[in-house]
Amino acid sequence: MSSVDELMTEAALHEIRDRVRAFELDRRDFLRMCAGGLLVCLSGTAPAQESGRSGYARHELPQDVAAWIHIDADGAVTVFTGKVEIGQNIRTSLAQSVAEELRVPLDSITMIMGDTALTPWDMGTFGSRSTPTMGPQLRNMAMAARQMLIEAAAQLWNVDPSALTAEAGRVTNPKTGNSLQYGEITRGEKLTRTVAGDPPLSPATEWKIAGTPVPKVNGRQFVTGTHKYPSDISRPGMLFGKVVRPSGFNATLVSADTSAAEKISGVQVIRDGDFIGVVAPDVWTADQALAKIRAQWNVPQQISNRELFEYLRSHAAAAPAPGKVDDLIGSAEVQLNTEYTVAYIQHAPLEPRAAVAEWSTEGSGPKLTVWTGTQRPFGVRDELMKAFRLSEDQVRVIMPDMGSGYGGKHTGECAIEAARLAKAAGKPVKLIWTREEEFTWAYFRPAGVITIRAGAKRDGTLVGWKHDNFNSGPSGVDTPYAVPEKHVQYHEVQSPPLVQGSYRGLAATANHFARESAMDEMAHQLSMDPLQFRLKNITNDRLRAVFTTAAEKFGWGKTPSTSERGFGIAGGIEKGGHVAACAEVEILSGNHIRIRRIVQAWECGAIVNPDGLRNQNMGAMVMGIGGALFEHIQFANGKILNPHFADYRVPRFRDTPQIEVFLIDRKDLPSAGAGETPIVAVAPAVANAVFAATGKRLRSMPLTGDGTFST
């Protein structure tokens, strides 16, 4: 599957079809506020966003890429991007890229991110696309701006531009000693220019700001509690909202008695079809009102997680007829035929969905502004436009850096609800979902069934590989190992039992779990060392490098596994990231799994910020432990049975092993993203380690429900 195809599939999984319209920016107000300055425009030859030059779906991007960088008269640099900061550290790393090419100090840059009124359209922050696409995009713009500044200074001094240098926010003539700050060059001027062609970017080997471990640019705001998350936004006269939730999925409202709630002073009840909400001057009163509403719902019979995998098997599109790969596997000296499963899990971002909606009148029509936590501010704008029949310039979505998402905040339900309440109340309304609502009414990482058939020669050479994924998704479905004949396929399941969507790495975690478990099973069948079996079938040097690095740093093969202590290895390639992990597990009494140590090697091209990259790796590995060991959604009859942290176990301090991350910096290669793929190797490495210790092959994620497995 090509990366474009994969992106489209991923986009489709996010349910963003048919949502986007013509692209038009309104930055006039903002630019009016800026003193005279420099506006950089670059024509269509800049690296396209993930949407591509041809546009995404029917969303045609203009050939003129709109302004991305503004330089004030005082030299302050403002950068505009539709990408959003959710903890993955792009507010810092993208600023580093701009500082590098523009030749300005990092602290002169302010990033305006994810504001639909100020930033260029963007499909969303997902798919590990910010570093490989937005990075070069902004670097191109910065490079063009630097050239313009040099040319402007050359004109002032009447010299040839090639005689001048740009460094630390100044253009200098080394011969004369003449020097001007960028702001002094642009003062009083608002320049707009179209630049053709991709300017040559600085090679990573010459980076001075990019490539360095710059700390998070606004770290101080987080340790002092002053950063305003979406749930912290406050507006004058703001009310607090609550929404009545159905007693189950796919429910219809039978009746509702709201009279007791309406009697509470300051409370307004809002009904619109099956939608019932309340607003009150404070969240406490809103909660009291909500509790007094008596609603009857009709909930249809629905399946439970006990029947889940059988349901997925029986509702998938039919597998294709056996072909050549089946013949090869069927006649191979060593054969494997296994099935793996993955449960539904929740993202459970610590900040639940939150939105503040404010209606105003602008000109002749209504104007809606919503502050909300989302990975797709433009997508949420489109949802609001649709929900309230508004045009693009009537809706503004602002995304303050949020309490993360992990792929779980692509949709605008909370924003729509807040806007509905605010519209009826005639005042701004804040709505913060409860933890239970977030666990229940957000969407889930798809569960799945994965079957793998494989064949190898007695010497360990793979001859055939077949990987079928039912429902969980196509990301990472293809094998990175050299195999002469293969068939890999994702099979959609019609009407999956829960609402499912994106998740960090999407199905790559499930597909790597299955494939790397199967590779381990093959190695054991062949009586080969699991690392050696992999290396025998790897032709990709980058994958080989992460495997050998992880193994060397871990001390792979130095100590044999025992019944109490097992070692496992796993790895793969996804979204340009190359990863391998070695895990050490301890089997405590009662088959309790304790992960003692994970060593991970990671390579994604030239490193933009090694500190942030290391943090992403560690965090993804910790998150991966949750899905590997215990995270799973239990459900029955349209209800989530464990919608609380007390019942849905997430990794905590005590679950965290010794983690070592080794980054391979390939300055000769373009930078890929790293927010997702560092999660994929943990589960199979742990499962393989458990097998090495116990001989028990755990083929379901999570490997345990409660930390222990049954024999």
């Binding site: 340790v223 406050s234 998150m623 942290f645 080794f662």
Partner: protein, 160 residues
Amino acid sequence: MAELTFNVNGSEQRARAAEDEPLLWVLRNRLGLTGTKYGCGEGQCGACTVLINGEAARSCLTSASAVAGAKIVTVEGLANGKLSPVQQAFLEEGAYQCGYCTSGMIMAATSLLRQHPHPSDEQILDAMNGNVCRCGTYPRIVAAIRRAAGEPARKESENV
């Protein structure tokens, strides 16, 4: 609703609130102190941790009337001209990603270090295990606590 007086971050503050309203909502919505976060409302995640008379407490499970008169410290009240040692250590270790858990982590760590200025590994796990960092920055948070306790910084693994 009653007129209640709170001692927050060293100053007397008055707010109209219901007696059994969680302290979290009073801090966030009535006193404008949004550094303290809502994560679960059930005492399971620690995002709402504040100090009450010097000890870490879950403000989501603490009723407003129960702490009227007590000394409450939120993340906004830690820095006194300069960052507190724990805040400084979190900053230096980069012990966060999205930062949403950071206030609660810092308050829990501050309470821990008041009780145990040089905590053992076990004491750190005991004090901190109730706080969730969904981004998974636990190793750096532990490193920050050790740094705040005056232990030499530990180096994370290097590049290759």
